[in-house]
Symmetry: C2
Subunit: 220 residues, 2 copies
């Protein structure tokens, strides 16, 4: 790695970007051209200083009394996240969580194209969830032979998450969005983003504690 290119970034900023994008796309749809820091702060329920720091990271600066150009800001956020190009994905495990993710229609706007869905449950295979046909996991090697997807969205039970991961890696998947509550062992060139649903509950709990005792201020 080239040390001179290093920028240390904060994950809360990255996690906020889709919310900015969501709102900016809606504003663009209704014909709005510019947006102020204050409007963004109101929507995000965070301080305007935080908003300004977030936006500055995308390389965009606002103009006094005019604010940010919405169209340029959308482009900058997409570039910042690498969402200006399409990323192909597969989803493994069409249970409740998998179905919820397949129903999330904003992913298309974020450049995520879920091309295949796999499960091992014979009752599910052959059915569709949100227009995605569910394929047998045993077919995965054949389906991925030509062109494996970039991302696998892992929605399987924790007990089988590692063996499914091994299968995915063996067939060329390089990035895993892991919703199973387990740490995955992968080769060094495979990227894993682990989602821990209880992380949000932890945030809420600390805010509740804060409200009772005024002990903490959370920087998020």
């Amino acid at each position: 790695m080239n040390a001179s290119k290093h920028k240390v970034m904060n994950s809360p900023t990255i996690r906020r970007m889709p919310s900015y994008l969501h709102w900016l796309l809606r504003m663009q749809q209704i014909g709005k051209k510019t947006v102020s820091t204050t409007e963004l702060a109101d929507y995000m329920k965070i301080g305007w200083i935080v908003v300004r720091k977030d936006i500055a990271l995308t390389g965009i600066s606002g103009r006094p009394r005019i604010g940010y150009d919405i169209s340029r800001l959308i482009t900058a956020i997409r570039a910042y996240l690498g969402w200006q190009e399409v990323h192909t994905a597969t989803l493994i495990g069409a249970g409740a969580l998998g179905s919820a993710i397949l129903g999330y229609d904003e992913f298309a706007q974020y450049g995520l194209r879920i091309e295949t869905v796999f499960d091992t449950d014979t009752l599910k295979i052959g059915k569709t969830v949100h227009d995605h046909p569910i394929l047998a996991l045993s077919k995965l090697p054949d389906v991925f032979r030509q062109n494996p997807p970039e991302i696998a969205i892992l929605c399987v039970p924790a007990a089988v998450a590692q063996s499914v991961t091994d299968l995915l890696v063996r067939h060329g998947v390089k990035s895993i969005w892991n919703f199973a509550n387990v740490t995955l062992n992968v080769p060094e060139d495979v990227i894993v983003q682990r989602e821990v649903i209880a992380g949000g509950l932890a945030m809420l709990s600390v805010k509740m504690k804060n409200a009772r005792g005024a002990q903490f201020e959370i920087e998020d």
Copy 2:
């Protein structure tokens, strides 16, 4: 607020706490008494300096060559998150996402007790999801009259999220864990934690960009 009591905290640390807790509880179950920073760092896939900083925030310090006492660390993390006591909750919206959350059996260990589940879909009302009977949303005022739950887990479509929130607030709910992709307007004394599923995708995307270009280092 008493400024002298202020501590500014980092949300990534708070979000990581349930993962530490998850692993420590498992280690305790198999009879392990102590854990080293290195073991925790290996499990979490983060640097040991980050682990040490995280743990220090709970007020626990390790002993050289012995590490942390697992039982004390579990107690400290629970205290840090306010999870040593039970928090009552209701879940609104028993669709795919709501069902996934109801199936997450670790919440009990985190002190979250989901007491009621509401929906407006007459096909769902009267059925059960993971042993929770689904009640008609119209019954909510009666059910909450005596003793409203502390937390509402909001899994309804974005279009109705604000009206359901107004109903919840009117009936005494003070904390909302919001999975609807929308900003909620609430009175000042009501706490909202918004979950944005695409936030995790943003993290994964930046890591993928990083791997390609070595431009960024994410601090998470």
